[in-house]
Symmetry: C2
Subunit: 249 residues, 2 copies
């Protein structure tokens, strides 16, 4: 089975709370599962990173603006939830009934600015995206390297919808230790012809693959990917298309 890639769920992580040492929790889960955290990519879902970093907002502290009240009324939602989405956004990209797609303060274009009430610790706490997911990935990677793990890369994943296609796939929000884009421009096809515009979004493909094992209800928040080549370095901001070049904003 030469060249195989293996995805292994890191099971049995406890409920993550603010201040939790994610690197330690990941190492414990790996040890329990007999997984050596060497020569691979650790994919971690955004939710536990946010929780560990305390990226939580008490909805009761928010005063919704008129726009938030109007949207909430139309969609039958909590206006403070919409207020938080607007605070986490720099711009609304599309709005229709039950749909609020914005550009987040990080530059991601997604539904509800990644603000999530499911799997939150209680009914009035919302989980928001990490302030700087690339920095989160870098910190987690460095903590694991310092503990003797590696070589490894870290990809922080979240589940996004997409235009034109139904269903959600996981994408990379934060990246450390691997090139998020595998630039093959200039390489040749099998007939020696130069390959055009073939730039696989490796970090997103890793995230999507890990998503096969990250089922929200089952509580598998981290997946170890062994066998994917660890080439280059970079960050998830490289995955965000420049707004000026984007035909869909």
């Amino acid at each position: 089975m030469s060249g195989a890639i293996t995805l292994t769920p890191l099971q049995g992580l406890p409920e993550v709370t603010p201040g939790a040492d994610l690197a330690a929790l990941v190492r414990e889960a790996a040890a329990r599962g007999g997984i050596s955290l060497s020569d691979g990519v650790l994919c971690v879902c955004q939710k536990i990173v946010s929780k560990a970093e305390g990226a939580l907002v008490d909805l009761r502290t928010l005063v919704p603006r008129p726009e938030a009240i109007a949207i909430a009324e139309e969609d039958g939602k909590d206006p403070r939830h919409i207020e938080l989405i607007l605070r986490e956004s720099v711009r609304t990209v599309r709005r229709a009934k039950y749909v609020l797609i914005t550009e987040t303060i990080h530059g991601f274009v997604c539904a509800n600015a990644g603000v999530d009430l499911s799997n939150a610790p209680d009914d009035f706490t919302a989980v928001i995206l990490p302030r700087d997911p690339d920095a989160s990935a870098r910190r987690l990677r460095e903590a694991l390297l310092a503990a003797g793990c590696g070589p490894l890369a870290v990809v922080i994943t979240d589940t996004f919808g997409r235009p034109w296609r139904e269903g959600l796939v996981d994408v990379a929000l934060g990246v450390s230790g691997i090139a998020p884009l595998d630039d093959q421009r200039g390489s040749k096809d099998r007939r020696g012809r130069e390959l055009q515009v073939t730039i696989p979004a490796t970090a997103d493909a890793l995230a999507a693959a890990a998503g096969l094992l990250m089922k929200k209800a089952d509580g598998v928040p981290a997946v170890w990917i062994h066998g994917a080549p660890l080439a280059g370095d970079g960050n998830a901001r490289q995955l965000i298309r420049d707004a000026k070049l984007d035909l869909f904003r």
Copy 2:
């Protein structure tokens, strides 16, 4: 390593020509690699399916319409290539210099209607998408089942760009033997709260995962995925968002 998923490249497939018996070629490659085609998902890249089905067009037979000539001139391309893209499309979704995003006759929204000159057998032959990728997946699956393989699903993959994000990921063009969407609506999160709008696009995640091993230049056109649950059935048309509900067409 309970619950692990393994992706294995099917290596050494010969150059596929019209009329080729893909099921036989896949079985031979699996046998050479020591891979048992049982209890898994076979991902096959669109290109070899198209070639086996003879979904090839000799550009010299095409007479470009004025629109094709204008676009080709602007982009420095062969007008017959653009003509073929327009023939494979029902509608242009976005057009900018060097970018032609259309809705294909199948309903996919993608660049250049999936018409590809790279890895084509010569300089004037273009490879187009299979006429009915779901039927292609079904036929390949049935041929493999008839040969004693299985249980298995087949996903035909292609590499698409996406709005807002750089780089390409593989998606499912054709599906047989697995539900392309894993509808978790109505299930509960860990705190017993109902999960909202959480419908993973399983077939697209499988395609993206397989894409990690399908490097054009390396000639790995098929990947065997073992360990992903084979739940339900359906087709890739279910992955196409109804144009009336789509905010980005």
